[in-house]
Structure formats: C-alpha cells, structure tokens
Amino acid sequence: MHIRSVAVALVAVAVTACLALGAVVTPNDVYHALDKIPLTHRAEIVHAFGVGFSLGRLVPDRTLRLVDRLAADKGTTADKEGILLTIANALENDLPVTLLIDKTEEGLARNVPLYVILNGSGGAVRILGLVQREKVLAAVRDLLYAKGIFCISHAGQATATSLPITRFDRIVTEVADVLCDYVESGASPLDGHLIYQRVQTRLENLSQLKQPTILPEDAALVLARIKPGDLTAVLLKVLG
C-alpha cells in the first residue's frame, strides 16, 4: 500500500512537470493534426479555423483534442470532414461554435455514429445533428439582430445593446441550446410560452451565479425584447 502511494505520487509529480514544461498547444498543432484525415477541403477548414482562433471562438487545445478524436474514430472520412466543415462554416458565418464542439464530443463519448452526430435522426426520438444546430445558432443570432441587440468587435465601444463578442456569443449559445433541448424533448415548437419560460429560467440561472456567465443586464435585455412567438418562429424556420 505504501509503495503504491509513493508510485502514485511520483507519477503525479511527473505528469505535473510534463504539463508545466510541455509545449502549449498552438493553432499549428491543430493544422498538423488535420493531416491525419485525408480532407478534400483542408484549405477552407484551415482558413475558417484561423478566423476562429483569432476571434477566440476556437481554443487550440480543445480543437486539437476534437480533431484527434475524430481522426481516431472508425467513421467514414466523409462524415469526419462533414463535421469539421460544419464547424468551419459556422465560424465563417460569424457564429460561436462551442455548442457544436461540445455535442460532437458528447456524441463520440456515447459511441453515436458520426453521421448521426452530423445529420441527426428523425425517428420517434428526435436527435438534432450539427447541421440543424448550426441553423438554430444562426437563427438565434439573426433574431437578436432583429431585436436591436448587436455584437461589437474587440475594438468597438460596448453599449447597453451592443455587446462584446464573448457576451454576445454566450447569449446566442445558451438560447440556441435551450431551443435544441426543447426540440429533443419532443415538445411542440408551437408552445412559444413554454419555450420562452425555459429560456428565461436558463438565462436567469446563469445570471445569478457567483461569477455570472451571463450578466444580469444582458439577460434582462434579451428577455425584455424577445417574445414567445419569436422563439416559435425560429424553430419553425429551422425545422421546416
């Protein structure tokens, strides 16, 4: 027992040392990792990822982990490229992608086939794929614009309705996530009040944390301007 404790301690020290001394993951490491997948649209993906890294929408170590996992998966190259292209497309369209990366990682952990992660499934139990999730993200972002809530670049001056990119992205991501959860629960998109209630609960919960991930004033702004009917319209637009 004593020997085992010493061994565990030594391994822990070694791992910590490696982490401390080890090289920080850079975008270049991600691009090298992409070479493990024979991509036909590599240049487009690299370009979009570059935009993502520069805006802070992609983090190199997390992206590297995703690419490595995709490369190791037994799914088809076409599906792997489909997933990377959907993320790239979202970045090119000026959308946050944490929701897409997170769902891909969850799907991989559950051994869900890549084509289901990408395209979803329309059986009795509805599963939204990345393709549909990207559409929800875009529709939510457009709704915020239509309601006079904007995103400013790093250089711009924030106002009550023009939010810095991290705050704006966070709202888009959380609202889109609520809508996707709602659809996957099998409830009707026509129940706008129910959807609104869920959005309200999520935003208020996040704004009441010790270190709020959504500022109370941002939550109040969004909830004041969005109406239940808007959320129904977003879902109907995306789901056809």
């Binding site: 869900v112 059986g123 009795a124 139990v125």
Partner: protein, 189 residues
Amino acid sequence: MYHTQDEVSLLRASLAGDTEAWGEIVVRYKEAVFGLCLGFLRNRADAEDLTHDTFIRAYENLRRYRLDKRFSTWLFTVAANLCRNRLRHRRYHPVVAPPEQMSGGVDPATIIAREARHERVRAGLDSLPYGYRAPLVLRYYNDLSYKEIAEVLSLPEGTVKTRIHRAKVMLKEKIEQNQNGVMRYEQRG
C-alpha cells in the same frame, strides 16, 4: 448502439400508454429483431413485416413480460413465435441479394471477393432446415447464450447445443461444396 440503463423507465412509460417511449424501445431493438426475422425466414419483405408485427404484439402483451428476464430475450421470443407461425403458413422464399453498391475508395475486386464469401454463407444458410438455422442465428447474430436460445425456442438446452453443432457441420460442408463449385467453374472458364 445507445446505452440502455433507462430501459425499465421506458417500459414502465410504455405500459402507461406512452407510445413514444415504446418508439424508443423500437429504435433500440429494431435492427436486432429484423436480423432475427431475416435469419429465420430468409425473406426480406417477410422479415420487414414481422419486425413491425413483433413490436405491435410485444406492446400488446407487455404485461406478460417479467422484469427478472432480460427484455431482449422476451422480445426475441415474441419474434421467434411469429416467425414460426409465418413459416407454417407459407413456404419460404430465399433472400435475393441486391447488387452491392460500390462505395468510393474501396477496390471493386475486394468488394466482389467479399460478396462471393457472403454469398456462399447465405446459400448455406438458405439450405439449412429451420430447426437448425434458428439457433444458429440466435447464437451468431443475436449473441444469445445457449440458455437464452433454449428459452426463446422452447427447447431443452442440450438440444440447442447439439443443433448448433450439427448446423455448423452442415453449413461448413455446404460452403465447401459451393466453394469447390466456384473453383471448378473458374478453372473451366
């Protein structure tokens, strides 16, 4: 493919009339049931029909399912009984294999060789009597234990073991015959 820890909750919901929960059960087992029916009946259209009927029949009789048994074993028993009834009323029509789709990046020669191999096994399976084919399918497609196969087919466990052994011997002979036939044909050509 998906994890099944909440199966009991789904069955409970199904019993309360939640057909959506039953839909989830269908999603989870439809491939396994279809494989069983296809293996037993050797006819795709019949297999498709009976897969559907199995889930309807199982839902109607769900109250007979006992939680101390594996749900899959019970479901397979329902499917096996339906298959047996169908075979009583109809002579089986062997599976007609559609041409393999050439998927990009795979060498056509590899596909043809693989197809020929599947074809030999398929022909061998078609030629086996139902009583020998059924336990073989449950063992090698549905991955059931001898005990579970005995339960599904209402046979003694010893009989199941003997039949699987005999079925494999017959299948091996059949495959070898088919293989020699192909080789003779190739040499002639």
